[in-house]
């Protein structure tokens, strides 16, 4: 007599029993559906993230249109104060409102790819803040992180394991671009005595950090919110 079918049947029955009893155990007594509030929260998060991207795209498109109209205006109207036009263009570039390019570096920072992830083996907002501060100190003229232009009011923060730059959620790997003297920027970023904590974690905990020089790197324009609600210029 072949007993295999019966063994299979018994196995299926036992597994089914475990499944039913485990389903029974996860029932909660008070909340009818404990998952619904959470999923609606995560759905909201996804929807807001999509909306943020859409708004940024619309701002970028409107900004490009503004730029085109300015070009039309500045070339066609002789009566306009030419100094004002050029000052405005120069200040907008300096402020980060225009896309720029130039020689520089592209640094990539990422969590350790293997082993047990500890605090020391992952990238932190503080690492990005240190890299930005260093780049500014050695003369970087423009900086971006994963396509987010770093301007005066840019904050780099985190909520548990999500890093936010300009209130935009970014995920690893983090690509930091900087325009300036490529050799100077690369030398400072690779100097273990400067970003000592980061370089130590690269060796000890497998954090990934690489720096490459570039003859031409592009940095996008800033598209986030602008300050101005509480301050007045004193000319």
């Amino acid at each position: 007599m072949r007993i295999l079918p019966y063994i299979t049947l018994v196995s299926i029955s036992v597994a089914g029993g475990v499944l039913v009893s485990s389903q029974w155990q996860v029932r909660v007594t008070r909340v009818v559906n404990p998952v619904q509030p959470y999923t609606s929260l995560t759905d909201t998060l996804d929807a807001l993230t999509d909306e943020q991207q859409r708004l940024k795209d619309e701002i970028a498109a409107a900004t490009a249109s503004v730029k085109r109209r300015k070009a039309t205006l500045s070339t066609s109207l002789r009566e306009i104060d030419r100094t004002l036009v050029s000052s405005s263009a120069e200040a907008s570039t300096a402020a980060g409102f225009t896309k720029v390019a130039g020689p520089g570096v592209v640094a990539v920072l990422d969590d350790s790819p293997d082993g047990i992830l500890s605090e020391q083996a992952i990238t932190h907002a503080a690492d990005l803040r240190d890299i930005i501060s260093l780049l500014r100190a050695i003369g970087a003229e423009a900086i971006s992180v994963n396509g987010e232009r770093v301007i005066t009011t840019t904050a780099v923060d985190c909520i548990v394991n999500t890093i936010l730059v300009n209130d935009t959620r970014l995920s690893n790997p983090y690509e930091i671009r900087a325009i300036g003297d490529a050799e100077t920027l690369a030398r400072a970023l690779n100097d273990p005595a400067v970003l000592s904590d980061l370089h130590e974690r690269v060796i000890q905990n497998g954090v990934r950090f690489s720096v490459t020089t570039s003859t031409r790197t592009e940095i996008p324009a800033y598209t986030g919110r602008l300050p101005g609600d509480h301050v007045t210029l004193v000319r």
Partner: protein
């Protein structure tokens, strides 16, 4: 004599397949319920939602401003007189960000008498930006896109002036778990004062001479 099996192989296969699907579904549900019942996970997502909601509100305002500017430029192309005003508005926005013009407004003055590391100074300035400071200075150096505490050799006492909503800046800075609390937790108590003002003025700083960056025409 060959006995007939109770179930055919294909029937057992189908039942096993269904069981596999059910077990996977069960496992996914357990994971989701575990996440949903963890108040920390819920709180983190809630904080992210709140933050994104605020950020998107600001972006909608920004979009509305740019659209308005787009409209004004179109008008300016037709009406020559409004052209200068449009450019002036653009220049004002940029000058505020670059710090090339002095600014005034309500805000706070934070004075820390103890010595801080560069990283701690970075964190204090970053926290103020995060809370909503619109313009900043430290020891009379205006914080600009090129300012770096790593280069400036700042020494105590540190006087940080931040323009923005005074109560929001002051309470967020000094609340439990705020940046001051975090630094004190790591480095010990700090001797500091935070005062709110209706009007403070920040100095201007000249634009640097750019040697490397060029505008990309689009």
């Amino acid at each position: 004599m060959k006995r007939k099996l109770l179930f055919s192989t294909s029937e057992i296969f189908i039942v096993c397949l269904l069981l596999g699907v059910l077990m996977r579904w069960q496992s996914d549900n357990r994971q989701l319920i575990a996440q949903a019942q963890n108040p920390e996970t819920q709180e983190v997502v809630a904080v992210e939602v709140a933050r994104l909601t605020n950020a998107n509100t600001d972006l909608r305002k920004q979009l509305s401003d740019v659209t308005q500017q787009e409209y004004e430029l179109q008008q300016a192309i037709v009406d020559k007189q409004s052209a200068s005003a449009t450019y002036q508005k653009e220049l004002d926005k940029a000058d505020l960000v670059t710090g090339s013009v002095s600014v005034t407004g309500p805000g706070i003055r934070l004075v820390i008498n103890d010595s801080l590391t560069n990283a701690q100074i970075t964190d204090v300035l970053n926290a103020l930006k995060n809370i909503g400071a619109e313009a900043l200075s430290i020891n009379d150096y205006r914080v600009t896109p090129w300012f770096s505490e790593w280069r400036t050799n700042l020494t105590a006492p540190y006087t940080v002036v931040a323009l923005g909503s005074p109560p929001v800046l002051a309470t967020s800075l000094t609340r439990r778990g705020g940046i001051i609390d975090q630094i004190e937790l790591a480095a010990g108590a700090l001797e500091l004062t935070v005062d709110q003002y209706d009007e403070l003025t920040l100095p201007e700083t000249p634009l640097p001479n750019f040697q490397y960056l060029q505008v990309v025409e689009e």
